[in-house]
């Protein structure tokens, strides 16, 4: 029987899924790797470790579940997280670790680009917000602060390109990952000269951009042998995880939105046109040619609740972290919507959309003498979700959507989904696939293989298994509190800046 594999190189792990030709999951496996923080603002990963982990998981999955059950792998489709930068030398050797999306070392470079006249053009041409996460800013940082490495660099690639180079020997980048670099013209599908000029590089320092359906690559002979794969196995280059999660949630056209909450979060819509926001609050990434995924990312998703659990959870009697989290969710569900007037701004990690303020900080507001611990638990959760709502609300001024689809480890927890439903006052659906990114990659591959006529047909196969309906009374309560939440977030910008400055100087 034929099958296909999807390989998703994400921030914490590589996940490999095998699908049958009907798009059903046969099996999957993951292998994690760490993120290193050599300095507080730095986030790096070891490219060799990610490559070896990928190879190891691939090999084991094939041996344990694929070869032994006589499946034949027809194609492998890749996805990865966005925004990573890995400088490599002429021989393809990494020059140090990869700098990943969460790395904030380029704050000054981002600010300086924002003050230039061409910044508006770069934002609208490339679709990528001008922010330290963007490879454009990271490469500029290397130019300004690590001249030796910059000079030695033969190519600036992403972790996905590195894995593909190792497996196939070629430097190629798909349009989707390219569209998140800040260096790629999402309309003309080529590297953007103004961005290249700002970063101080020529286009040949980047890989060759190709369509997301491209399957010209093939595995190196040795890998075919050790992995037991046919040399005819097609490698589909695939897209970025954000875009594939959207496709995997069944969203490809207007009228629908998807909310993802894992450790960070995002609200996204899809369509045939870019979404033009004059305040530059939303990204426009390419899922495939003429398909755009637009939306806003937040830094402060599940990671903020995990922080809360570590500080204030009850770890007695040898409880594991997941049990402590569950206890807290139970506690939160005992409090009415609105946490009796206790509000929480979740900006522990600064914020991207919609504030785009790296200095934003967290706060509890409205505390009175009758508030108990459980109100804090509830308020923390609601604060994280108010932030998601605030992105969705502004997104709605550009695009209408009536139905929302949920994915990510946190968003699909019943309490979280219900609160989101009540906040948005819209119907929210949970899909039948357990991993939207893998599902999106499989749908892309199956479309290429001709199983589906086009991406619309592929997306239509995603079924919702559970539907949440809003409770009007809760919605009204949330809207009253949200007004204060939103005002506080903007009103405090001077104070955010001041406290951010003091904290970064280490004033105790």
């Amino acid at each position: 029987m034929d099958c296909l594999l999807t390989i998703d190189v994400n921030t914490s792990a590589v996940k490999i899924h095998a699908f049958d030709m009907n798009g059903r999951v046969i099996c999957w496996k993951k292998g994690s790797y760490p993120t290193f923080h050599p300095q507080p603002d730095y986030s790096e990963q070891d490219p060799e470790q990610i490559f070896i982990t990928t190879l190891y998981i691939l090999k084991n999955l094939l041996n344990e579940h694929i070869h032994s059950k006589k499946y034949k792998v027809r194609t492998i489709c890749f996805s990865s997280s966005m925004h990573s930068v890995l400088p490599v030398d002429k021989s393809g050797n990494p020059l140090g670790n990869a700098i990943i999306w969460a790395d904030n070392r380029g704050v000054k470079e981002a600010d300086s680009l924002k003050s230039l006249p061409q910044s508006n053009g770069i934002f609208h041409t490339t679709g990528t917000p001008i922010h330290p996460m963007s490879p454009l800013i990271k490469i500029t940082w290397l130019k300004n602060h690590d001249q030796d490495r910059f000079a030695q660099t033969h190519k600036f690639i992403s972790l996905k390109e590195y894995i593909i180079k190792q497996l196939t020997g070629e430097y190629v980048i798909d349009h989707s990952v390219a569209s998140s670099t800040g260096l790629f013209d999402i309309h003309k599908l080529k590297w953007h000269q103004d961005s290249l000029d700002f970063a101080g590089i020529a286009a040949d320092k980047l890989s060759e951009p190709v369509d997301v359906f491209n399957n010209d690559l093939s595995l190196k002979k040795e890998y075919c042998i050790t992995l037991g794969l046919s040399p005819k196995t097609k490698i589909i280059i695939g897209a970025s995880d954000g875009c594939l999660a959207t496709l995997g949630a069944g969203i490809i056209s207007e009228g629908k939105a998807t909310i993802t909450i894992g450790s960070s979060g995002a609200v996204r819509v899809a369509g045939k046109e870019v979404l033009r926001d004059e305040k530059q609050r939303f990204f426009n990434y390419l899922l495939a040619e003429n398909y755009y995924v637009s939306g806003g990312p937040t830094n402060n998703g599940g990671v903020v609740f995990e922080w809360f659990a570590r500080q204030f959870g009850e770890f007695s009697e040898g409880l594991e972290f997941e049990e402590v989290l569950n206890d807290l969710f139970k506690e939160a569900s005992q409090v009415k919507a609105g946490a009796e007037g206790l509000l929480f701004l979740p900006y522990l990690l600064g914020e991207r959309a919609p504030l785009w303020n790296a200095n934003a900080r967290g706060m509890y507001f409205g505390l009175n003498i009758s508030h108990e611990r459980k109100h804090f638990v509830r308020a923390t959760l609601e604060g994280i979700l108010f932030e998601i709502y605030s992105i969705g609300k502004i997104l709605e001024t550009h695009r209408n959507f009536e139905d929302i689809y949920i994915n990510g480890a946190y968003a699909s927890l019943p309490l979280w989904t219900q609160i989101l439903t009540d906040m948005f006052g819209k119907t929210i659906h949970i899909n039948d696939n357990h991993d939207s990114v893998a599902n999106g990659a499989a749908l892309l591959a199956l479309t290429k293989l001709g199983v589906y006529a086009n991406l619309e047909a592929a997306a239509a196969t995603v079924k919702s298994v559970e539907t949440y309906h809003p409770k009007t009374q809760n919605h009204e309560t949330y809207m009253k509190y949200f007004k204060i939440f939103e005002r506080l977030s903007y009103k405090l910008s001077d104070e955010f800046e001041e406290i951010g400055l003091l904290q970064s100087r280490g004033v105790s």
Binding site: Y56, K59, S91, R310, V324
Partner: protein, 292 residues
């Protein structure tokens, strides 16, 4: 409470225990200059504070110790009062001289100890890699010290065996506490990251699962389960992946021989390195190097 300081070679109570160089229960009522100068621990030194507040410098770092705190230092680590004398208070201590204890973690306690060779290696590793020599609020140490004191002075039948056991008990209790206090259940990802960093810094060591588990304060069963759930790998396979990742990096440095790379990254021979590398990547290290 009785007060005493027993010294090996001077106090007859220690004559049958040549591996104990000091054992004391000491109360300080007046400050005496130079009573606690900073010097090497000269053995595994375990001090338990019963009263007062002590301001010590251990390995160049200031530490404040309060009642129920325990310090545990290795032979090569220096320690003493920050002003060179004992602060006012009470404390108990013991200095154990292992047969072998090297800064690389190699530890042989001696024939008196009932701790297995494997566990001695784990203890050696944990102590030598430990950067925080203070065990806070470890009250169970006090009971062991008191039992030791009773056995030493009462000399009832079987006291030699008991004392040997109690010292094993003390070492195990303190080492377990040490590896647990920084690795709380609430943050396994953090624990895992720290373990990864330790492994990378000491990649040429032949790590065992016992050692890795001991280092993060878990039993091998729980450790293996947690690593598997968190990373998708068994602990040894995770380690092999780190070894190979580092090896790939070193392969691009043409001045290094394959044997050097193998040994640096913890393979016991270049053959072992080659076969593991080939099994995983499909290439021998030599082929991999040529490709680049």
């Amino acid at each position: 409470m009785n007060q005493f300081i027993l010294y090996q070679g001077k106090s007859k109570e220690l004559a049958t225990f040549p591996y104990i160089s000091e054992f004391a229960n000491h109360k300080i009522q007046n400050i005496q200059l130079n009573s606690q100068e900073i010097k090497p621990s000269n053995g595994i030194r375990i001090c338990f504070i019963t009263e007062g507040k002590f301001d010590w410098i251990i390995d160049g770092q200031h530490h404040l110790l309060y009642p129920n705190d325990t310090s545990m230092t290795c032979p090569w680590q220096s320690m003493g009062g920050s002003k060179g004398f004992f602060d006012i208070g009470s404390l108990m201590w013991i200095i154990i001289k292992p047969k072998v204890f090297e800064p690389n973690g190699e530890l042989t306690l001696g024939d008196w100890s009932g701790i297995s060779e494997t566990d001695q290696r784990v203890i050696g590793k944990i102590l030598s890699l430990n950067k925080k020599p203070i065990l806070s609020r470890l009250k169970s140490c006090q009971q062991i010290f008191q039992n030791l004191e009773t056995e030493f002075f009462a000399k009832e039948m079987g006291y030699r065996t008991r004392i040997n056991h109690l010292i094993d008990e003390l070492l195990i209790t303190a080492t377990r506490h040490l590896s647990k206090q920084d690795n709380l259940r609430r943050d396994f990802p953090q624990t895992f990251l720290k373990l990864e960093q330790t492994l990378r810094e000491n990649l040429s060591d032949p790590w065992t699962v016992e050692e890795m588990a001991g280092l993060v304060g878990l039993g091998t069963t729980a450790f293996t389960e947690k690593v598997k759930a968190f990373s998708g790998f068994s602990p040894l396979n995770y380690l092999i992946n780190i070894r190979i990742s580092e090896a790939i990096k070193l392969l691009s440095r043409k001045d290094l021989s394959l044997t050097d790379i193998a040994l640096d990254t913890g393979f016991y021979s270049s053959q072992h390195f080659s076969s593991t590398f080939k099994k995983l990547t499909g290439y021998t290290p030599r082929e991999f190097r040529k490709m680049e």
